[in-house]
């Protein structure tokens, strides 16, 4: 039996976007405290959006998150379009979908390369990798920069998007720009992704599992990112408008963020949830890569979220190649967004890189927002992180404190993507 004392607090876990603390206290093999704390300063968006016109709401709401602003813009716009009964043209849907692919791609690259890889390669950040793995860091930067350029072409600026509005777009890419994206995707990007698979194949992921409920948007004929139904591993799909029956938010004193639960003690959202629910709708190359990693649905290992992200990175590239072919064949026509304002409520749901995201607005006759509810994926995962902690800690309690700490930090990081690791570019330059 162990007679040691494990006692630590990780204040503001590094290499995650936002602020979270891990608190662990165990004595003689008995766990006294094991807690995931979220002390983020709240911003009150749901209160702030009240009284604003719908177009201002759509412009301001993406400022919830600097990393997945395109996802927030799309949830916000989708909610507005649902409230006003707007139907999008085929061209708008194609442009919107490839813009969304671009953000998913950029975010996944950032997470897998800059936040996750250093843990597996035994370093504290990507900085030392610039010397030991220069080609890897350069590749990561190349992929990330391309993801940004891809989104910039479609919406004016990835953080924060400008050209997409309720009803469509107000500025359109040229045929030359679309061809440029296509050539990049087919050439350099696919080659770099192949090398990425080779790299991540060499990493050993922790074997921890916890069976739980997974929730993600689902559609009958595509791997869903925007709209559809709310899919669950535990029940039949649920209409988006009934999202409150899924999220069941509740407050806990250890967190300024609200927590959620559905049919079990907690549920997980994000790339692994999407994979577990929609894996049969992945494009062929993405499916093949899932096979390379031995990823099989249902996968209950949260450390595999990163693998699912890599699989999705390939999927969105394949997906956008199809979209771009369609756009290039039909050409781009400048279309004026048509929106007729009316009083009503609308819910928009999208799969942000971290998971399912809901925006729910009520507007008056003049299109002014009178009520807003927003549920973000990171909040949906807090409860899942806490329950993972409670299962993981007893399993590793006999390990040295540093190892326990790292395993728990890595678990948090597996859930939470983002981050600008841009500081490290300089290291690349001066190795």
């Amino acid at each position: 039996m162990t007679t040691k004392e494990i006692n630590f607090k990780v204040h503001h876990v590094a290499r995650v976007e936002g602020h979270g603390n891990i608190i662990v206290n165990a004595k003689d093999g008995k766990i006294e405290e094991c807690k995931w704390e979220v002390p983020e300063s709240p911003r009150f968006f749901e209160s702030m959006l009240r009284g604003l016109s719908y177009s201002d709401v759509n412009f301001i709401a993406p400022r919830i998150c600097g990393i997945c602003a395109v996802a927030h813009a799309n949830a916000s716009i989708a909610a507005t379009e649902a409230a006003f009964g707007v139907k999008l043209s085929e061209q708008s849907i194609l442009l919107r979908n490839t813009l969304f692919d671009a953000e998913t791609f950029a975010s996944h690259i950032l997470h897998t390369y800059f936040l996750i890889a250093p843990d597996f390669l035994g370093v504290g950040s990507v900085i030392p990798l610039a010397t030991t793995h220069t080609d890897v860091v350069l590749r990561a930067l190349r992929l990330k920069k391309f993801g940004n350029d891809w989104a910039d072409i479609l919406c004016g600026r990835k953080t924060h998007p400008i050209s997409q509005v309720a009803g469509g777009f107000v500025k359109f890419p040229t045929i030359e720009q679309l061809k440029w994206i296509k050539n990049k995707l087919e050439g350099e990007v696919l080659k770099d992704l192949e090398l990425s698979v080779d790299l991540f194949k060499t990493l050993t992921f922790p074997t921890f599992t916890r069976e739980t409920e997974y929730i993600a948007l689902t559609k009958p004929d595509e791997y869903a990112f925007i709209g559809g139904m709310i899919g669950s591993t535990d029940c039949k799909p649920i209409p988006i408008n009934d999202y409150l029956s899924v999220t069941n938010e509740f407050c806990v004193p250890q967190s300024t963020a609200k927590w959620t639960k559905h049919l079990r003690e907690s549920f997980q959202v994000g790339a692994l949830a999407r994979y577990n629910i929609n894996h049969d709708k992945l494009h062929p190359m993405a499916k093949k890569i899932a096979g390379v990693f031995g990823l099989k649905a249902p996968c209950y290992n949260p450390y595999f979220i990163s693998v699912a992200q890599l699989v999705e990175s390939v999927h969105v590239v394949e997906n956008s190649l199809i979209i771009l072919d369609k756009l290039l064949t039909r050409g781009i026509k400048p279309e004026k967004p048509e929106v007729k304002v009316k009083a009503g409520r609308g819910v928009g749901a999208v799969e942000a890189p971290r998971g399912i995201l809901f925006h729910d607005y009520t507007f008056d006759d003049n299109g002014k927002c009178i009520a807003a509810n927003i549920i973000i994926p990171t909040n949906e995962n807090h409860n899942s992180i806490q329950h993972d902690f409670e299962k993981l800690l007893p399993e590793i309690l006999d390990k040295p404190q540093d190892e326990i700490k790292l395993a728990m930090e890595m678990l948090v990081r597996a859930y939470d993507p983002c981050i600008s690791c841009s500081t490290h570019m300089l290291e690349v330059k001066f190795v």
């Binding site: 503001h12 590094a14 290499r15 995650v16 976007e17 300063s41 709240p42 911003r43 009150f44 749901e46 209160s47 702030m48 009240r50 009284g51 604003l52 201002d56 412009f59 301001i60 400022r63 919830i64 998150c65 600097g66 990393i67 602003a69 800059f114 504290g124 950040s125 990507v126 900085i127 930067l141 990330k144 920069k145 940004n148 919406c155 004016g156 600026r157 953080t159 924060h160 400008i162 050209s163 509005v165 777009f169 107000v170 500025k171 407050c251 004193p253 300024t256 609200k258 983002c418 981050i419 600008s420 690791c421 841009s422 500081t423 490290h424 570019m425 300089l426 690349v428 330059k429 001066f430």
Partner: protein, 245 residues
């Protein structure tokens, strides 16, 4: 010795750091000339020893206010990075309501667990040496700031309104597209990116020095708008303006 630079995030979306440093090759070269000693988002290394502190986000809790005051004591140069830090940004939209109401709307019955202060810019609590405006800031402006910091030159903000840059970009005036544009009174330096991308100026870079009030009144009159309408629009990104300088 290279200047030691630290980044600190307060209440905001953390998009400023992303947008500013986002894989822009020119800034890579420039940042290579400094030591980044604190950047929690990217690295677990911490340091209390720095010359230049970038403050991202606005001030909304007592805990943050104390933290920014400590940073001010240590930093030789303190830079407010982005709209939230410079003017309170969109976070100040909550100042239109009593704080108890904001808490109730978001947390309902659990509001008692939490507290919040009215949103204020960094300058409401500590002396700010340089303001880098915008939501998000313009990369080129940050590049010129870093150049100035390295060479000891004084950093000059852009002194013309967005309108000037918009005309250079040969955009059709947003007012002519029936948009309520704040370009005539907003500080430039963004190359009028929002108008160029098909929209209007939202005023995220705050008021230009000595705005041409008479000309603005004429524009408003021409399009049947009032000063009150303008202030409503302007407050979207500048709701805490009365306390920012």
């Amino acid at each position: 010795m290279k200047p030691r630079v630290a980044f600190f995030d307060f209440t905001g979306c953390e998009g400023c750091q992303l947008e500013v440093l986002n894989f822009n090759l020119e800034i890579v070269d420039l940042i290579g000339a400094v030591d980044i000693v604190e950047f929690r988002e990217a690295s677990s290394d911490h340091s209390d020893d720095y010359d230049i502190a970038f403050i991202e986000g606005s001030q909304t809790t007592q805990r943050d206010v104390e933290r920014v005051q400590k940073i001010r004591e240590k930093a030789k140069i303190l830079v407010a990075l982005g709209a939230c830090s410079c003017t309170g940004g969109v976070n100040a939209l909550k100042n239109r309501f009593p704080m108890e109401e904001n808490l109730r709307v978001v947390y309902g019955d659990s509001a008692k667990f939490y507290s919040t202060l009215p949103t204020k810019p960094t300058s409401a609590y500590v002396k700010v040496d340089v303001h880098i405006h915008g939501c998000p800031p313009n990369r080129n402006e940050v590049i010129s700031l870093v150049k100035c910091l390295l060479t000891g030159k004084k950093f000059e903000q852009c002194h013309n309104p967005v309108c000037v840059e918009c005309k250079l970009a040969e955009n059709i005036c947003a007012f002519e597209r029936a948009e309520f544009c704040l370009g005539p009174i907003t500080r430039g330096g963004c190359n009028a990116i929002c108008v160029t991308a098909g929209r209007k100026c939202w005023g995220c870079r705050a008021l230009v020095d000595e705005p041409n009030v008479n000309s603005e009144k004429e524009i408003l009159k021409k399009y049947g708008l009032t000063m009150d309408d303008m202030m409503m629009q302007f407050k979207l990104f500048n709701g805490a303006l009365e306390v920012s300088k």
